[in-house]
C-alpha cells in the first residue's frame, strides 16, 4: 500500500487539491523561518505568523483575481 503510494499518482477531486496548498505554505514557512530566526525558541510563533500572512495574501490575490474576472468588462 505504502509502496504503491510512491509509484502511482493519487487521484483526488479538483476541490480537494486546493487543500494541499496550506501544507505547502506551512513547509515553506518552516524552512524559511528556520534559517531566518535568531532564536530557535521563536520559530513556532514566527512560522505561524508567516503562514497566516501567506494564506491571507493568497486569499486576497484570489479575491482580487475573482473580482477582476467577475466585474471587469
Amino acid at each position: 500500500m505504502i509502496a504503491e503510494l510512491f509509484v502511482n499518482p493519487l487521484i483526488l477531486p479538483f476541490n480537494m487539491t486546493l487543500l494541499l496548498l496550506p501544507p505547502l505554505c506551512a513547509l515553506v514557512a518552516i524552512v524559511y523561518k528556520t534559517i531566518r530566526v535568531e532564536d530557535l525558541r521563536d520559530l513556532p510563533k514566527q512560522t505561524i505568523v508567516l503562514i497566516v500572512y501567506m494564506l491571507a495574501g493568497l486569499v486576497a490575490l484570489a479575491a482580487g483575481l475573482w473580482a477582476i474576472h467577475e466585474f471587469m468588462p
Binding site: 510512491f6 509509484v7 499518482p9 493519487l10 487539491t17 513547509l27 515553506v28 524552512v31
Partner: protein, 235 residues
C-alpha cells in the same frame, strides 16, 4: 597578515564543504557550520516536502525528459532528488522493452532513412571537397564561376540533408515519447492535471528551499559563524 590570509582561505574551504554537504543532505550544511538543530529541522522539512510530492504524483513526478525545469529544481534536494531520479530511470527501463516492441517497425524505418541520409551526406561532403580543390587549381575565370555556382548549389543540398537528419531524429524522439506517455497512462503511472502541477510543485519547491538553505549555510561558513556559535544552539 599571513594568519588573516590563512583564516580567509580556511573559510573558503569551509564554505565549499558546507555547500556540497548542504546540497547532498539537506540540513547537513547547517549542522556543519554549528547549527545542528536548524539542520535537523531543514532535513525533516525538505524531506517531507519532496516525498509528499512523490506520494502525490508517483514515480513519474521526477521526469528528466519532459519536465526539465521541474527536474532541475528537484535535483536541488540532493540525495532525495537523486533517489527520485533513480526510481524514475528504473521505471522507464522496465517499460523500454514493451515500447521497443510497439514501435519496432516505425523505428526501423526512421533509422533506415537516417542511415541513408548520412551516406548521402558523406558522399556530398567528399564531392564538395573535390570541387573546392578544383576551384583552387582552376585557371580560367569562367571555370571558377561555374565551379563556385556548383559549390553553392551543393552546399544548399548539404544543408537540406543535415536538416532532414535532424528532423528524422526529432521524429524518432517524439515517437518514443508518445509511446512512453501512452504506456505510462495505460499502467496508471502518468501524471495528469491538476495533480501533476501540485506534485511537481511540492517536489520542486523542496529543491528551491534547499537552494536557499545551501546559500545560507555557505554564507555562514564564509563569515565563520562556527567560531561564534549562535545563542540558541549553544544553549
Amino acid at each position: 597578515m599571513r594568519s588573516k590570509d590563512n583564516k580567509s582561505s580556511t573559510n573558503y574551504i569551509r564554505a565549499l564543504v558546507a555547500l556540497v554537504l548542504a546540497w547532498i543532505v539537506p540540513g547537513a550544511g547547517h549542522a556543519f557550520v554549528g547549527r545542528p538543530w536548524r539542520g535537523v529541522i531543514i532535513f525533516i522539512t525538505i524531506g517531507v516536502t519532496f516525498w509528499a510530492g512523490i506520494a502525490l504524483g508517483g514515480v513519474m513526478t521526477v521526469d528528466h525528459q519532459e519536465q526539465k525545469w521541474w527536474f532541475a529544481a528537484e535535483m536541488l534536494t540532493g540525495v532525495h532528488g537523486l533517489v527520485g531520479w533513480q526510481r524514475e530511470t528504473q521505471q522507464l527501463k522496465k517499460l523500454a522493452p514493451t515500447i521497443r516492441k510497439e514501435i519496432e517497425q516505425e523505428e526501423d524505418a526512421i533509422n533506415a532513412v537516417i542511415r541513408e541520409r548520412r551516406r548521402d551526406l558523406a558522399q556530398d561532403n567528399a564531392e564538395m571537397a573535390n570541387l573546392k580543390v578544383s576551384l583552387q587549381t582552376s585557371a580560367s575565370a569562367q571555370d571558377r564561376q561555374m565551379l563556385q555556382e556548383e559549390i553553392d548549389r551543393r552546399q544548399s543540398a548539404l544543408d537540406n540533408t543535415k536538416a532532414e537528419i535532424i528532423r528524422q531524429h526529432r521524429k524518432l524522439y517524439n515517437l518514443r515519447n508518445a509511446h512512453t506517455v501512452k504506456l505510462l497512462a495505460k499502467q496508471n503511472l502518468a501524471l495528469v492535471a491538476p495533480m501533476a502541477t501540485l506534485a511537481r510543485a511540492y517536489a520542486g519547491v523542496a529543491g528551491l528551499l534547499n537552494l536557499m538553505c545551501v546559500f545560507d549555510a555557505m554564507m555562514l561558513a564564509l563569515i565563520g559563524t562556527v567560531v561564534g556559535k549562535p545563542r540558541e544552539d549553544a544553549a
